[in-house]
């Protein structure tokens, strides 16, 4: 009689532990998704600044027409339907063009001194920093999730339910290289 209760008790306890472990892994995974969504939101914020940047800069940099065309083309290709990876690629391409525009501002003193431009540049810098913060959050969330699913006793459940480790955000090899200022200014 008592033995039955003890067995039921142990089984109940084991079930509760499994539920606890499972919920922890799910919570960590959701945090990773949430962190990724925050990167997406920040990239979108920067993306929304682009039309203002183009409009403002266009008045001063008439002969940078090809960059404007490229930016408009890339913007039209970004929609909510395309997969995240592809969207990130487009965002990064847009970023390169926008960076080029911002770099060329040095050659246009009137534009550089314009209050609208200064405001836009501040918003741009702020968004850049927020994107960086989101990436750091994503990396922290991924590290925490990976640590959990690889550590005992979570790893038993993670292996059974096929929770796989995720990759942290890493900069590309191109970005890792030292910046060649000469090349940048000639582009």
């Amino acid at each position: 009689m008592y033995t039955d209760y003890i067995i039921y008790g142990i089984v109940g306890l084991v079930i509760l532990i499994i539920i606890g472990l499972y919920n922890t892994i799910i919570r960590k995974r959701n945090e990773v998704n949430n962190a990724f969504a925050s990167i997406d939101a920040m990239l979108k914020k920067r993306y929304d600044l682009l039309p203002n940047l183009v409009e403002l800069v266009k008045q001063y940099m008439a002969h940078e027409k090809t960059v404007f065309v490229e930016i408009t083309k890339l913007r039209s290709q970004v929609s909510s339907e395309i997969p995240s990876d592809e969207k990130l690629e487009k965002y990064n391409a847009l970023q390169k063009h926008a960076d080029r525009l911002l770099l060329n501002v040095e050659n246009y003193p009137d534009l550089k001194a314009s209050a609208n431009f200064l405001h836009l540049q501040a918003s741009w810098n702020s968004t850049e920093e927020q994107i960086s913060a989101s990436r750091r959050y994503f990396n922290a969330a991924v590290t925490d999730y990976n640590n959990h699913i690889q550590m005992f006793p979570y790893n038993i459940l993670a292996d059974l339910l096929k929770f796989s480790p995720q990759s942290v955000f890493e900069i590309s090899n191109n970005e890792r290289q030292n910046i060649n200022a000469k090349e940048l200014f000639n582009s």
């Binding site: 962190a35 501040a122 810098n125 702020s126 920093e129 927020q130 960086s132 989101s134 750091r136 922290a140």
Partner: protein, 312 residues
């Protein structure tokens, strides 16, 4: 535009020296008077001791005790009066010009301190602030950054339990943000603080923010309302600068970022920015200590790079 740096020798020799000499004369005169009364009390004290040993007649003891204590008391009162007379002069004639030499738009209120509301808003106090004490409130501008600081004590409850004594600094931060982030010394903070901040409604959905800098993580516990915004505020370079500032201050420093302002709490038990009575006021090293305190508290602007405003 002044940036908090300047040649101390120029300040001391050209701006403060004459005033210090005048103040030193007043201090010496006060001390001399006090010593005079003390020495007058000495013969009466000798008579008092003699009578108490040889002939403890109450009326005689009283007659000799009265002048002894009267002159001793007057000596102490003279010291106190000298201090009361020197303090506002020292603050107005020495500390104010010192601040004006270092910073722009200086407002110095020697008898004011940070308000209770500000202390509460800073989220740096471990308990509710019910009353405050302190003095030497300074408001000034360094470049584009407005900064305020004062010696402040915070008390909790009807028994006025002291929960903080030291310097509170607040400055405009160079980034805009919507949520609150608190950076507390790891050694003296438990996770219970997070629950308290949430439970009291001072923060909403506050979480522990784990940052990537291991040295920073070892020194501080970060509690933030938003994982992303806390990291936006605490960029890797700012974390390093905060660590350097903490090491420079050499105290358990706490920081918070609330409503686009930075708050810093540095616990210090010494009463700073006061004249001294028993040692020369015109001593260069003594004046330098006050100068260095001002520099240390305002260096936060330079050290945390608050004048770089590329985000606003």
């Amino acid at each position: 535009m002044k940036n908090g740096s300047g040649d101390f020798d120029v300040l001391f020799n050209k701006i403060l020296y004459d005033k210090l000499i005048a103040l030193e004369e007043k201090r010496k005169s006060g001390i001399r008077e006090s010593i005079r009364y003390f020495f007058i009390s000495v013969p009466f004290a000798a008579i008092l001791i003699y009578l108490m040993v040889k002939n403890p007649e109450p009326i005689l003891v009283f007659l000799s005790a009265f002048p002894t204590f009267a002159f001793l008391g007057y000596s102490a009162i003279t010291i106190r009066q000298t201090r009361i007379m020197l303090t506002p002069k020292f603050k107005k004639e020495i500390l104010l010009p010192m601040l004006q030499y270092l910073f722009d738009d200086v407002e110095y209120l020697p008898r004011q301190r940070m308000s209770k509301a500000l202390m509460q808003r800073s989220l740096l106090m471990s308990k509710t602030v019910d009353s405050t004490g302190g003095d030497d409130f300074v408001r000034c501008r360094i470049g584009q950054t407005s900064i305020m600081f004062s010696e402040t004590e915070a008390y909790h409850g009807s028994k006025a339990e002291m929960i903080f004594s030291g310097i509170i600094i607040t400055a405009g931060f160079n980034k805009s943000f919507m949520t609150k982030t608190v950076v507390l010394p790891e050694k003296s903070t438990t996770r219970w603080r997070k629950f308290k901040l949430n439970f009291s409604g001072q923060m909403k959905n506050a979480e522990i923010v784990k940052l990537e800098d291991p040295v920073f993580e070892k020194e501080f516990m970060v509690i933030g309302e938003s994982q992303v915004e806390s990291r936006y505020i605490l960029s890797p370079s700012l974390m390093q600068r905060m660590l350097d500032y903490k090491n420079k201050v050499n105290r358990q420093t706490s920081f918070s970022f609330v409503e686009n302002r930075l708050y810093v709490a540095i616990p210090i038990l010494t009463n700073m920015f006061e004249p001294r009575i028993f040692e020369p006021l015109s001593d260069k090293e003594f004046i330098r200590i006050n100068y260095d305190y001002f520099r240390l508290f305002t260096d936060i602007v330079e050290d945390l790079d608050l004048n770089t405003r590329i985000w606003q």
